[in-house]
């Protein structure tokens, strides 16, 4: 692949990551949030595939397939199933009703966080200054920060789980963009842990609905000091 095409495609994939992160932050309907989350999974898998083709790295190709299976198929499916159950229980479309920060302020925060990501990742980009992938690391960091921001401002259980996964997508993107390989066992273990954590959270969401009658986390006021 010519370098110019590679850089262009790389920027496209990373741009898609950031754009979907902002869309997830912007939208309130859970169905839309989950859809954009799935799109982000595809972008992430495309990024891994691109790096695999560029580096002629079969192992990275397998990682790309794994990322696609987990983040574009399995996790969105799990989330959609949780959403379907919640809608069946409440008989109404599920949406984030009252986030702690309103839409305009959230989008401004995303812009600030992106700038912050560029400032924070400067040592990382300086580490390998002639690698185009390293210059995209700040975008991965921005997705992590936006995910963290969404996590602390969303108040519905399902929205929090999606925000957690958004953060996790960002972390995976940073891992891919540093182009330093980890051992396959570590990558498998990490993916398995993420999948299991989401499974656990899904079961707990069901229990919260059973015991509290809703999944609005503001209802969680039993335990405090």
């Amino acid at each position: 692949m010519p370098t110019a095409t590679y850089v262009e495609l790389l920027n496209l994939a990373c741009g898609a990551l950031l754009a979907t992160a902002v869309l997830i932050l912007w939208r309130r309907q859970f169905a839309a949030i989950i859809r954009w989350f799935g799109v982000q999974g595809v972008a992430l898998a495309a990024l891994a595939a691109l790096l695999a083709i560029r580096g002629h790295d079969a192992r990275l190709g397998a990682v790309a397939a794994g990322v696609f299976a987990l983040r574009a198929v399995a996790l969105p499916w799990l989330l959609r199933r949780a959403l379907a159950r919640a809608e069946a229980a409440a008989l109404q479309p599920q949406r984030e009703t009252r986030p702690l920060v309103n839409v305009t302020a959230s989008l401004l925060a995303a812009a600030v966080l992106t700038l912050l990501a560029y400032a924070v990742s400067r040592p990382l980009t300086a580490l390998t200054p002639d690698s185009p992938a390293a210059h995209a690391i700040p975008l991965g960091m921005a997705v992590v920060l936006i995910g963290f921001f969404a996590l602390v401002t969303r108040r519905r259980a399902l929205a929090q789980v999606t925000s957690f996964l958004l953060m996790d997508n960002g972390i995976t993107a940073v891992g891919l963009l540093t182009t330093a390989s980890t051992s396959l066992i570590v990558e498998l273990g990490v993916s398995l842990d993420v999948l299991l954590a989401v499974g656990v959270l899904q079961v707990l969401t069901g229990r919260l609905r059973e015991t509290f009658g809703s999944t609005d986390l503001d209802e969680l006021r039993e335990l405090h000091d």
Partner: protein
Amino acid sequence: MIDALMVAPIAVPLLGAVAYLLIGWRPATAWLAAASAALVLAAALALAVTRSGHGARTGLDGQILADPLSEFMLIVIGAVGLLATAASPAWLRGEIAAGRATARTAARHSVLVQLFLAAMAAAVLAASLGIVWVAIEGTTIVTAFLVGQRRTRQAAEAAWKYVMICSTGIAIALLGILVLNAAAAHAGIPAGLDLAHLAAAAPRLDRGVTRIAVALLIIGFGTKAGLAPLHAWLPDAHGQAPAPVSALMSGVLLSVAFYAILRVKAIADPALGTGYCRSLLAVLAIASLALAASLLIGQRDYKRMLAYSSIEHMGLLALGAAAGSAAAIAAVLLHMLGHGLAKGSLFVSAGKVLQVTGTHRVDGVRGLSARTPLLAGCVGFGVLALIGFPPFSLFASELGIARAGFATGLGWVTALALVLVLVIAAALLTHVSRMLLGTPAGPAAERAGAGLAPAAIALTACAVLGVYAGPLTTLLHAAAATITGTP
């Protein structure tokens, strides 16, 4: 032989889990959990004895690593695991008798506890920082349902907060690991995340990148260790989990997470100089101690009281790690063991108090010493151990941490920490004396002493350790040397 001993602490609890899965919980299998924990302890002791004086050794194709530090951590896991699992049969019988559990929930409880032990053993035996991460996140997953076991509103809320906050914290650590991996690859270290390679080649790591990685790793694993500011899950989870699980979570899981911080420190210090980790850990230590002190003063729930005391002790560990000398690290490790034994037996006793009195509240429990002298004795001596009264080993280790703090130029921080420790001790004594003394709130309970033997034995062991640590001292110093890098 040694390879078998290295695999046993992971394999035995896994087999135990399979056995419970197949056979279920019945009188014949009630003690299987304790037997498996006893085997873990025996394997850890055998490993420490046979390998005494040797350096690190890897097994399973380089995937697991036994050095003095992991051997010591295995002893802590085995000892507190044995305490908690030996107290489980009596506790589970009490719950089943009270109709709060069935043989099915007891079986599920036992499966998860065995997996929990295996995950902790894997975390301290893992040769790669990546596997340490996977195992520690694994503990979150298996304990989530243990925290939410009672299925009440409070339990559901505690389990949600636990999984959400710990997974987020540990995700921050994962980012740190990936960043560190980038620095390692740039420095030409093979196989990325191997702990021994990283520590040996640390001086070649890029400073700017390593600084980001270490901050992320310490904050991330600090979440799981219950260090402020990301401690919010701890009092809820430890307060709501079943008593034997609280004993394990408070007694060992926090220490296992702190073990990861010590490993990070062993990489960070040669790369960045000792100052960076020291200031980070000192800030976390003081924040945790101050938070524990402020919330212990007015505490009304005795299990939450014990949970905040765990935050205090994690703060003390962080202070010792900030001091960072070999003596300080040895004291930190002894403190982990002493705290595990004391806090473990206190949580087991607290579970018993809950079964006898039916209330979580400090002021609901009055005159415990008149109702159940044996139980009151365990609680009383446990709290004395916790606040560092001699002869308990926490006295020796707190003294060691304080001396190391003053000796390494952390004078003001250590002095402030000691003041906070005194405040906490006063608060704990006040609350517990209200529970133990006064006119009894109910009639003398029958058979309340049953199942307390493990707690009493653990407290005795804690006291004996404070007087005579014997051959353990050699192991402690060897383990401290693996962190400080000085032989």
